[in-house]
């Protein structure tokens, strides 16, 4: 193989355009690829096709009125984007949140994470050539969407969290349904592992592919499952708890899932896949525990803020489906945010593609992008 590369060095370099409407780029992203035969010399991501200036819109509407727009920051896991905005504004205005709202946020976040990982893992398997897992994953995601619809009336862009709480309380029927879904989903994870995770062809395809070291990941600002896949145990839910995760995680003897290099190198594409499968397991456990604890909380689920005109600046960090989402909001004493800023997991991940792609095969670029779980609207906002 290396002889083949040497033979054409400096020779037949070709510039190719991948995207913006390429099915494997997970949204509208363009890559300008310089290749030498099948080997990539450099793949430069060109983003901005989905830039809707959501941060600018935040300056034009009230703190509460901006909530539906946060759904569009990351529409694959909209709930966590809701959460980070609500939390940032609550910190800014020093607003109280009833405990029941925190539990409902946890349950909805984790359901959202399960649905998001369904897309991430199913699409990743499909991108490397395994078609079957994708419809399986979409089927599970439909169950979650049904549950979400029953909770808040929407299947994709939920607008469920509020500044100071959540929009609606849960019903006993809904609670039972979620618990039934959890029992069902445990079996699905086992089935999924038999179907694809430990499939020898799939492992050969992804093992040792684009391995990222911990130092590199921190330098590039990789967050979430991508960071944990490098063997570094850091999860905001456990290490910087918010929204009563600190009451839930000790009760389920939480252990942050990290990449172990089981089939190849630590931090390779397969590890990134496997860490997300493990996150499914923990999400199910968190939901069960939160739904048990929520029974003992008072029924108040929203403390609507009065005269919300905060001054100063605040940040919130939430473990979104694509990792640590950072929201910075500046208030100048008006009803609107003076400046809002979201730094999302996909943004840092895509910035890394240029460096990691050199030397890969063209077909492996798709696997790299998929394994980083990049969602285009989350990059551009």
């Amino acid at each position: 193989m290396s002889e083949l590369v040497l033979a054409t060095e400096g020779g037949d370099e070709m510039t190719l355009n991948m995207g913006p409407q390429h099915p494997s780029t997970h949204g509208v992203i363009r890559f300008i690829i310089k290749t030498d035969g099948e080997i990539i010399r450099e793949a430069e991501p060109d983003v901005g096709y989905l830039h809707r200036a959501i941060e600018h819109i935040a300056e034009k509407c009230s703190y509460e009125g901006f909530m539906p727009y946060t759904d569009r920051v990351d529409y694959v896991a909209a709930m966590t984007a809701n959460h980070v905005w609500a939390e940032a504004v609550e910190r800014l205005g020093a607003l109280p949140v009833p405990p029941r709202a925190h539990y409902l946020r946890v349950v909805s976040d984790e359901l959202s994470r399960i649905a998001s990982h369904c897309i991430a893992l199913g699409a990743m398997a499909m991108d490397v050539g395994a078609i079957t897992p994708f419809p399986y994953c979409l089927r599970e995601r439909e169950y979650v969407n049904d549950l979400m619809e029953e909770l808040c009336g929407a299947r994709l862009t939920y607008n469920y969290h509020r500044v100071g709480g959540v929009g609606w309380d849960l019903t006993d029927i809904w609670r039972d349904k979620v618990l039934r879904f959890c029992d069902h989903f445990d079996g699905v994870i086992e089935e999924f592992n038999r179907l694809i995770t430990y499939n020898p062809i799939f492992i050969k395809r992804l093992a040792r592919l684009a391995a990222v070291s911990t130092a590199e990941a921190i330098d590039f600002g990789l967050v979430g499952a991508n960071l944990r896949a490098t063997g570094f145990a850091y999860d905001l839910r456990a290490d910087r708890p918010y929204a009563l995760y600190d009451k839930i995680l000790p009760r389920i003897s939480w252990q942050t899932p990290v990449g172990k290099g089981e089939v190849g190198e630590v931090g390779d594409a397969w590890d990134r896949f496997w860490v997300r499968v493990e996150e499914w397991r923990w999400s199910v456990k968190i939901i069960r525990e939160a739904l048990a604890q929520i029974q003992e909380t008072p029924h108040e689920f929203w403390t609507p803020p009065k005269k919300l005109k905060p001054k100063g600046e605040a940040t919130a960090r939430v473990e979104a489906a694509r990792g640590d989402m950072h929201c910075y909001v500046v208030g100048d004493g008006g009803t609107n945010a003076y400046r809002a800023r979201f730094r999302t997991g996909s943004f840092n991940a895509i910035a890394m593609v240029r460096e990691k792609s050199a030397g890969l095969m063209v077909a492996d670029l798709v696997a790299l992008i998929a394994s980083l779980d990049i969602v285009a609207p989350e990059i551009d906002r």
Binding site: I218, D219, F220, D239, R343
Partner: protein, 184 residues
């Protein structure tokens, strides 16, 4: 380490170059750095064993037209010590130039590109300071408070007539509409 202790360490070393500490909680703990000392202070924050801010979480530019300044805000976090702090640099709005941090954290590369694109802070020494979100030939920086959108971009209008107007015009031209206005 809490934010006050971080600031005390930095202030002991850099004196007047750092100022205006605010403790925040639950809001942000932040302090301000003189623009010409930014790289020195940031290198210290990253490399000192007691501080070790290894993760540049976010770079944000904030426009303050009344005070005639642009602010570049950096949020740092340390995976080693699990502490965090916000750092600000105030720049004159007419000449917003500040040293790039891309040589310290690789994540700064794209974060600074985005802020350059949308608010027009020039990060000097940046390896690749091009627009990120807007097209390369776009004029102006859209998230400045005084930004006025151009009426067209490359012959494409940036606004369009309301589709309602088309419907109203159609209604007016419709034969039945004429009858209504005429004598019964």
């Amino acid at each position: 380490m809490d934010a006050q202790a971080v600031f005390d360490l930095v202030a002991a070393r850099f004196g007047d170059a750092v100022s205006a500490f605010s403790a925040g909680a639950p809001k942000d703990a932040t302090f301000v750095i003189a623009p010409d000392r930014l790289v020195d202070v940031m290198t210290y924050l990253r490399d000192d064993p007691a501080l070790r801010f290894d993760f540049l979480q976010n770079v944000t530019a904030v426009d303050w037209p009344k005070e005639q300044r642009l602010q570049s805000v950096y949020h740092l976090f340390s995976y080693t010590h699990r502490h965090e702090i916000g750092v600000k640099v105030n720049l004159p709005r007419a000449q917003p130039r500040v040293a790039s941090l891309a040589s310290l954290w690789k994540s700064a590369n794209w974060l600074e590109r985005e802020q350059y694109d949308l608010l027009g802070i020039v990060y000097e020494g940046h390896p690749d300071l091009r627009r990120l979100m807007m097209p390369d030939d776009w004029l102006g920086h859209p998230m400045r408070k005084d930004y006025k959108e151009a009426t067209e971009y490359r012959g494409m209008p940036t606004t369009r007539p309301s589709p309602m107007n088309l419907i109203l015009a159609y209604d007016k031209a419709h034969p039945t509409a004429a009858k209504k206005d005429g004598p019964a």
